[in-house]
Symmetry: D2
Subunit: 368 residues, 4 copies
Amino acid sequence: MREDVIGRANVEDTPELEAYYKELEQFEAGALWTVANKIEPWQPKSQSVPVLWRYKDLREHVLRSVDLVTPEKAGRRVIYLNNPGRRDVSAAVGWLYSGLQVMNPGEVASAHAHSASALRFIMEGSGAYTIVDGHKMTLGARDFVLTPNGTWHEHGVEASGSPCIWQDGLDIPFVNAIEANFYAVHPKIQQDDSGLPIDDMTKTWGNPGLRPATGKWSKGYSPMFKYEWEPTYESLNKYAKATDGSPFDGILMNYVNPVTGGHVMQTIGASMQMLRPGEKTKSHRHTGSFIYQVAKGSGYSIIDGKRFNWQERDIFCVPSWAWHEHGNDSNTEDACLFTFNDLPVIEGLGFYREEAYGDNAGHQAVAA
Amino acid sequence: MREDVIGRANVEDTPELEAYYKELEQFEAGALWTVANKIEPWQPKSQSVPVLWRYKDLREHVLRSVDLVTPEKAGRRVIYLNNPGRRDVSAAVGWLYSGLQVMNPGEVASAHAHSASALRFIMEGSGAYTIVDGHKMTLGARDFVLTPNGTWHEHGVEASGSPCIWQDGLDIPFVNAIEANFYAVHPKIQQDDSGLPIDDMTKTWGNPGLRPATGKWSKGYSPMFKYEWEPTYESLNKYAKATDGSPFDGILMNYVNPVTGGHVMQTIGASMQMLRPGEKTKSHRHTGSFIYQVAKGSGYSIIDGKRFNWQERDIFCVPSWAWHEHGNDSNTEDACLFTFNDLPVIEGLGFYREEAYGDNAGHQAVAA
Amino acid sequence: MREDVIGRANVEDTPELEAYYKELEQFEAGALWTVANKIEPWQPKSQSVPVLWRYKDLREHVLRSVDLVTPEKAGRRVIYLNNPGRRDVSAAVGWLYSGLQVMNPGEVASAHAHSASALRFIMEGSGAYTIVDGHKMTLGARDFVLTPNGTWHEHGVEASGSPCIWQDGLDIPFVNAIEANFYAVHPKIQQDDSGLPIDDMTKTWGNPGLRPATGKWSKGYSPMFKYEWEPTYESLNKYAKATDGSPFDGILMNYVNPVTGGHVMQTIGASMQMLRPGEKTKSHRHTGSFIYQVAKGSGYSIIDGKRFNWQERDIFCVPSWAWHEHGNDSNTEDACLFTFNDLPVIEGLGFYREEAYGDNAGHQAVAA
Amino acid sequence: MREDVIGRANVEDTPELEAYYKELEQFEAGALWTVANKIEPWQPKSQSVPVLWRYKDLREHVLRSVDLVTPEKAGRRVIYLNNPGRRDVSAAVGWLYSGLQVMNPGEVASAHAHSASALRFIMEGSGAYTIVDGHKMTLGARDFVLTPNGTWHEHGVEASGSPCIWQDGLDIPFVNAIEANFYAVHPKIQQDDSGLPIDDMTKTWGNPGLRPATGKWSKGYSPMFKYEWEPTYESLNKYAKATDGSPFDGILMNYVNPVTGGHVMQTIGASMQMLRPGEKTKSHRHTGSFIYQVAKGSGYSIIDGKRFNWQERDIFCVPSWAWHEHGNDSNTEDACLFTFNDLPVIEGLGFYREEAYGDNAGHQAVAA
């Protein structure tokens, strides 16, 4: 790790120094110059690698878990996404966990709470619901729902529904890393019926430019627990008429906490973006780890020089500081990408940095 | 002003004291005990009186102004609401100004800017528009639009439209009172065409739970300059399904700045409320001055013991600390009240206080 | 009030119009163009006039009040400063009240609370104290103490002390104007002994760059109720070594809420400034109303072209948007000015505006 | 990792399941129930172990580095503290790095900038200084200085000084973990002389209850770059007269950003605490990782049942969720502990949790 640059460590090993290093070890210490260049890199180099998880590959395995394990034994039947560079922490990218969960009609998972923040993005099936701190929400395809840090939550599928699959997203690896994760099973296994109207939080907080006059909310996460697909897609279309969009992301909107205008949870942000028919964005890179699910359409992303072709419900990741650009394959239909990420951590702690790809009119060369 | 209460002034005039008071006057001074009880009242007593302005009374006078004065001579053709207790400052209630403005098809007002914050609530006509700092907005009945402190703004009616009437609301009296009012006519009389899409700010910022990822906004007022009636009414109906409502206000929602979740402007707040069929609210009083316009339906309000029956487009005011309750006359139709007020000042400076009417099951006795 | 300028009202009275105006009066309404130019001035013109209150003039009258009225009858023995332009609201300038209060050894005023925010700046005497919500503070000359909006507070002078005089500053006129003033006498007339250590709030919160780890404070005003003269004067001297100072104000520091870094109270700000030996500042003007007390030294201020020579403990005011500059008469001693003002209102609501005096190297011509 | 508890994973391996797991691996996926209990622990179990680094052990090794390597080759001569549980990331505890740095009179390190935030706590020697973005600060024993995220900074010792040793504290491991670390050497190797007064930021911002009126500061870290020992110790003594202190920490004050009242930097907090003569605190545990240096006196800490006796300048760590209590050995002298920690991360992201030790009157049993 020696570097011949002013201000960097460049010390040759000698027998005297090696003896010195040995002595230091006895006192649980070391010489900084032996590790300085490693721990102070010139720029981030992610341990994660870009991966595309194809829904057609995973779907059958997800469904097969229903036959292989009972919900009682498994807790939840989930196939998680295991980034080759992050197997030690079971992360899909960076410090973010993601998995595909399946539930059959009539099943109910036990209620629990944890310090990790969670979200679900519904992929298929009918009759799914989530109950967060007594607020029950019905869920359809492409709906996005929060189960924030510290809330009691449980999932289920109505007996009248069909098998449901959704993507889970959590910051479990991060919360473990900062050694702050607590877990609890609900003392009654299920939450009591709260008597609250179905979808009350979305009806109360999910209105454009309007807020309940008497409603107070000071928790660190959005009170609008569910963000439905239909108004989201309408919003993208409206916004598309008022903006040229971002050269890197097309029409990109963040899901927000309507009380603050900020991220939906304290550690996980989420957004939905639309690539207009034929749109091919330019490349940029930035800090922060991102997981995408294709909500609509088909296309490709080029990530650090590698091309990934995607279709509806495929999932892929973009590691921190990786170059990336996206393209919509269709010239007539838009394509939509759902994303969740660790931007609240990165931005909130002062680490966001971004760079445009300058060469080749902003487009990466793709490895053969 | 003497009061025989411990801690209050209770000094009798004597020749010696009167001579003393005279001497103090020479030094631009006075004895506090001669005014203390007056300037430290036990509770607020508004100078404003409750007033109902009936649209049927005012409409013909507003329209007549078109024949009486030219826009060039008058600046704007506006009939302002002159509270009997506030004629010295031309206020409708407290420190809030309000007036009804008329404009004919093809007319354009000159662009100007002022330190006062302004809003408009459209009452009738088609083809009206407002341009705020280059952002053009089309306006229909019951739309609510902002022209905040310091922005260049101008109003007009398309040649293809019909005569338009709207209510203006401003904090002119307040800004004069705190001696901070500046006024400027646009150097080119009209703003240049900015080339921005029509209604771009509402399309960009007026979405439920979503925000442009790349949009930054740090001004003291909402970037969502226009709040349209239709989504507002939908929101009230959605929220009504998720709440019991307020005993004093029924279904009450504030128009908010989507970036902060707070008031739309720094000195004027606004809200829309729905009284459900047959709903009769209880009385309360609070600090802050309020002007109402009936956006829909008919009913009554009882203000400090006096009953005011109102119909669509009527306007009335509730002074600070006045008891008030509202009722919807219809058992089948809802009634909606648009309101603007000085709550950002009252709340922001720490002066909000509220009290429920305890007697008579919460209902005031009405003076014969 | 007619003005021959595009965008301004310029309507001649006619018999027809005068009849129309009469009709409008019946409906509590008026024609805007008859008042528009008055209520929309080009720039602020304060109702207050600059005044200098000399301590040598007022002191004997203040002391005489002790003989003329009892504290029981007067409530408090205070000579208030009555600006010739603001006699209707008993204000010293703008919406700020100020007075000189005297108390003899052994006297105790009754405890009360009000919506107005108050401060005291001690002028002479020993043994004075204030108790705010159970926190007792000892007070010496030039100490500055807060009695914020809504707190129970009482003043007294220890039996072992000497007659004490201090300046009171309050926003009573403002709180009355916005119709939000409540007043209450303490149910037991005096606060119970809280057992808290003397000066605990200053010891806890008045430390440079340090805060109690376990202390929480979320009220709208500073928990550091007392700001002592000695550390204030030291701070000015330290800061003077690190800055060139302001061309308009020399070495100017704001008293702040240590929790937020912002103003000490929600409606009144305060500062202390040092004019270095021989320093003569340039003129500027800004929105906001200011009352000054000369804490140390002697000099002059030029306010809207009029010169006021001041000495220690003199008081003067600068109205909103009035040109002003200051000079220290001494070439060897510094001069210090204590100020309080309505900047939290002006800044907090978005109305602060400032302008440098451009002519004559920044110095006003003084009227003969 | 199986657990026989409702809501936890409890699946036995079978040949069929093992085959299934193999298949999932091909798709960079896994079955959640094979790792769920591991990644969702009931409570945090830190990878770090409590360690005490004795200054008498380390000092000679630190000084020896001066003979062993040149500053040019080593970059900086630092012995870093290497927690046995965190050797993979060179952390002293959690994600915090710490080391002891030595510099001889006349030496100057090259200027650089990095995304990691840094601090120094001076241990011995005279003539040390740090320059942060052009602001030069002189440093004496127990002074605490910031070199925040993104600032150009360099260290040196005046030729007239003596060899200086200080403790460095950084969040390098954390910034690497979140893949956001950038490093740059100053283009001119040293910063240009800015002409700013020495210690200007402390003179400007380090005043009790006062702030420069014209100073603006909106960066994420404190503008008061240096916190001197003397006023810090005075503050602790003042605060001690106004509080009973914390049962767990005695007299504990946080170093704060005077603009916000919050932590000094966005990722690292710091505090100084005083254990009064004879004080023995009770045990508690909380999330967050802490490094202590004994600034004054001697005593002990019991951390997860193990006793560590410490003297001036010793360093020790308390891992996240470890029980800990402290004792001052002297009945006549106070003891002071300097601490830095990751509380801005833990609190800012919503992960702070605390628990008092309930047994044995709040005191841990100590392992023999």
